[in-house]
Symmetry: D2
Subunit: 405 residues, 4 copies
């Protein structure tokens, strides 16, 4: 078998690289990841569940198998009483690599090692401590010889710069994505400026992931491109948004929305929303296009189908999917057969079935950022007293009047 | 190992039996089932994908592993150019039994063989022809000695009666569920009367599945119970609704909604909607409680968590799920920790993030039922002429004005 | 001048009689009526304001000038510190008659004297006391020789029967309308039975006004007609609904909706909603068609325009209104000229411009009816203690969570 | 009687001056103005109707009686077959002055002569021709010695400059307001730059009216203030927004919204929206605060009540209005009495009662501006051929799919 072409080789050639979707949220719904800590010990505990999801993304068109190592830093694995620390970063990352490589080699996908933000940074422990956390993870990736590294999900560009440095020092191609929107990072640094700083730190691919839906993420990437262009810097762009629509999100994105994380369903993108996302991202000059939380295999397939002509191929999973609803030609009911066409789905504004819901929410951002004592790494389980304090802070506002009052 | 207690033994003892969720829709999104024909040849083609989904439901609390044999009748496998006919009912059902038994035996679940409505009925070919289709499927179930049979997803009570007869003739306990709502079957037979007829045909467990969200399904079950009570008949009730909210559905349910099947996302139930469903179903006297299309493993887990006290146990997957959002106590952001409580989630009306969508749709029921030529079994692929005819019929209405016009 | 033809003469001939709209709400917005007590002392204080509104309805097509004597009973004029008692029923009713006659005689309209429900009834003071309140009002109407009497806005059929008796005893044609919906009166008497009782009490015209939007009012009238037909009784029907859409209202109608009375704007009917109402009412066999709170002159004009063919005439105010938007042919912008047609307006589902609002509310009916101490006539102003008690009762519910929380 | 203090005297002293609301839309609903041409011949035809509306605004707190002379230029009075040309600008303006002075003198209000944009400008006939149209109107205002002039409702700053010049030449204090939003005028000139140009043209008071709801108008004023400040220019600011919420409007404002002009009801501001508007405008440094189309007397009263402390007085109409719903203390039903408080109304998000409507619309701006042949003055009635052409242009778009399809 010929060696796989590398990530930069592909992007330099102008190809569209399709990422994968969100493991944390998908596996939470499948019963393998705990919402709250969101850590990936499932790699060790139930590897076949992780493998199945990787396979679904591969079939859907993903060119990259990102190791499921989100939040796998030792400081996070032990935060607020999380018992995943007993398994530890090393074992989790090794299991994640094993699985990613197995599935990647069932196709032509690359394996990417992912490293993300740490409680150490939020606790203000500084560069050296953060990079120590990063290196413990990166070592495993190096040992397994992953194809490239991805520093992703950083709310503060400063921490991302440190991560890029650590990744870049290995000699591997390095991608980086911030989980911020058009309003800048949580320290107030403009989105465009963040991109320039990450380029200067050595990143080869720069972009946005998570925290916002496709429109806001693409807008943030556009600001990044604008700033990079203005600085005369040429880098590849990547975008991996939420699978949720968040026109109403504030600076901290979907975490501030009242529906996070257990009532986001009405915001889930349809496959047609994913088509539009793929086209918009492509038109914005982005060539590494994937997804984050909420992006399921069928969304990735929709991305691959939308860009089939540009890529010269359809994904494997399209064997089970007629383009633009064409499979409905086989439906029993004639009025459903009449929906087997692009114009129908492209123009539909789907109803919610929820007459007591509004279309938008008001985010409840408390304006808390790095350094705030509420964010500091905290090994003990949250106590009842602490719970009462935050609940009180959440509800002790002016009376809220609505239909139930 | 002690033999498993049977379905009637459990229900007669007053226990709550939890069904599984929807295979067709879940596997379509995972890339293994084709929307339109909706047939289950994946059992033969990608058995591990089916096995993984069974396992997720088992972990979530399902007491029943229903063979994934939806629409596996030979007449449907070859309808409108569907190539699944080359695999055939026999091979599909055997593979489905193998998978269901393997996973069921990883726990204490029963295996149920499912038989559903046929194009043969819609083509008006009569009782004998229908029962021939049923028997080809049931033979495999008998050979594999499933624990009970389920005739499910019938729009016409008449066909369901024939199916019950065929099932009941095997000596196996027989459940039956219609995919109708409170307005009765598609021939206009009232929902309550349907129940009485099914009881008279010999069914042990009677209920509703698919086509409607939880509220409408429970209301239909309530009508069934009322009629059975009035007739002095005592049967077990079952309900397996959609995982979608459908307050605006007409007689044919979600198939008539403009969002079917590719834009139903905003209607997806949250886990809290599933809690409410489980409680409402329990309060309505229903003891076989599961789900159909759109019901994912986390919905079934929510049903099991809601009824944990009644059942005296939590499902395995609750190891990864704090009750009523309790896992959020471990979240980094304090305002998200403040959501780790029942009152928060129980009262939230989640926003859609879709300001251009309405809350309800108008169904486009064409009023077509069994016997209509548009519904008759049709071996050839739908032609372009046929497509143009239905599209024309769908769009040649008075001008529709909306925000895009 | 030939004498005007009477109300029964018109209805017996099968003509459509158009009522007027809502004075209380319109004059509240114009600055002349106080929301809360809703009493009509403006007749004495600012007669020209009342006259102008009558004129607008006359121009719009109203065949009836109903004296603006809503809530003009002495017990209501002095309720809870209301100072209108200093003016008194007699003076108010005389002024109202003067105005109504002046405007009626500018056209061919009839004058109708209106008598409505009393705190005396809610206080449980019995038939004699109630009828005493009615007679003080009716005497003025008799002195002024109104064309007919209308007992309107009764929540309890019993009190309406007493009012009908008092009206009928004068020898004047008597109409009666309840402010109830399809669920029956506040004592639980079915809507259809209410109609039969009112017919037996002697009413010539029977129907529904206020508390619900057009759909619910027409449905209530339909139930009345069904019951009258079943009893072999032939009476004329009338309907005068709110100018607000209330699909979510409970038994007590819009008073229970959280938006009552100061945030009903998003529910206001368009003129096209009024067209539909007029057609629906006509098709239901109702021939006295008007409006109540929220129905403005342009809504009445829309009713008259919808029924122009049946009535053989357009209203005077149509000189300033092109049918179905035809005036837009004169608009400067071409895309607005394109809206000068029926299909555009008839199909439009108007947006709210309110992304944080839901489409429906949950009524907060406290289930309080006649006899409850909270409803009893109460001469003193509501005290701060009483306010705190009701506010506490309103807000001391389980915590309500929404986007602001 | 002491002479009234002039507009600049009041504003220079830091007082809040309250304008009036919208005559065109209010009188259209009352049956006196024709939608489409929107011309004010009612002053001559039914003066008492105009007088009554002026009186309502005076009672509500308006300090300014603006002559109802909107679109009273001779070129507009005869556009597209409008028959108001037979009455003519001179007669209309004289009648409007008579009425405005009569009512103004019932209180302490000033009379302001209004001059607005012309078809002459849209037809590209140049400065001289436009100013000729302005002067015919202004002459009447001078003859009647109005207190100040207001050039209002200009979509193009160039035409507004010409109008300001004409007004200013009379020696009268001159106000000017554009009907544009934050996106600039229809020729693409930024909103802030427009303000500077109007200041340079000599305007004493500069601002925004019509076309957008309060939020967008205040934002546009903020941009104006920013630019004036940057240019070191000190002028008074004014804002008179729509009484409709238009978060979804594009550059041309509500005219582009599909609901314009006959289905705007769900967007109507509540009185509480008007409170918020008044406070926001005040906080933005605006001191001339009024309304335009859709702003009814009760909205102006709400503005006056919100700013009662700043102004040291309540309006006359507050005799009929308890602050923040206080009149509800006199309501019969206890749960309505519980709504007699600020927190209730301030936090309510009112429902629409329209489950088939979305919260936002997509504007259908055709991108047509001055000079386009579709906008040119056109004396003949629109022909059927012209209608078909615009309807065809409006509907010949890609198929629109919604719930009715």
């Amino acid at each position: 078998m010929a060696p796989k072409r590398g990530i930069l080789e592909r992007l330099d050639a102008g190809e569209v690289v399709i990422g994968d979707g969100g493991f944390v949220f998908a596996l939470e719904k499948r019963g393998y990841v705990r919402a709250g800590p969101w850590t990936p010990e499932v790699n060790v505990q139930y590897p076949s569940a992780v493998k199945e999801l990787h396979r679904e993304f591969l079939r859907a068109g993903s060119d990259v198998m990102q190791t499921f190592t989100f939040y796998a830093s030792d400081d996070k694995l032990g935060n607020r009483g999380n018992t995943a620390a007993q398994i530890g970063c090393q074992a989790i990352n090794q299991a994640a690599c094993d699985i990613a490589f197995e599935v990647a080699n069932e196709g032509d996908a690359l394996v990417c090692g992912g490293v993300c933000q740490t409680p150490t940074y939020l606790s203000g422990k500084g560069k050296e401590a953060c990079q120590e956390e990063f290196m413990k993870q990166i070592e495993i990736f190096l040992k397994n010889d992953v194809d490239f590294l991805l520093a992703e999900y950083y709310e503060h560009v400063e921490e991302a710069e440190w991560a890029v440095e650590s990744c870049k020092a290995t000699g591997k191609p390095t991608a980086v994505s911030l989980c911020i929107g058009p309003q800048g990072d949580l320290h107030g640094i403009p989105t465009g400026e963040c991109a320039v700083r990450l380029a200067n730190a050595g990143a080869d691919i720069i972009g946005i992931n998570c925290h916002f839906g496709p429109d806001e993420c693409i807008e943030a990437c556009r600001l990044m491109k604008e700033a990079l262009d203005a600085a005369g810097i040429k880098k590849h762009l990547m975008v991996q948004p939420l699978g949720y629509l968040t026109p109403d999100a504030g600076k901290q994105g979907f975490i501030d929305l009242p529906e996070f994380p257990f009532a986001l369903e009405p915001r889930i993108m349809t496959r047609w929303d994913a088509h539009k996302f793929a086209r918009d991202a492509y038109n914005a000059g982005i060539r590494f296009i994937g997804g984050c939380c909420g992006i399921e295999p069928y969304h990735i397939r929709a991305v691959a189908e939308e860009l089939a002509q540009e890529r010269g191929k359809l994904p494997k999973a399209s064997e089970k999917h007629g383009q633009w609803g064409e499979g409905l030609r086989l439906h029993t009911k004639p009025w459903v057969r009449a929906r087997a066409r692009r114009a129908y789905w492209e123009n539909l504004q789907p109803s919610s079935g929820r007459p007591f819901s509004s279309s938008m929410s008001k985010p409840n951002n408390w304006g808390v950022t790095a350094g705030d004592k509420d964010l500091i790494q905290h090994k003990e389980t949250t106590t009842q007293e602490e719970m009462e304090a935050v609940i009180n802070r959440a509800t002790h506002k002016e009376e809220v009047v609505n239909g139930d009052n």
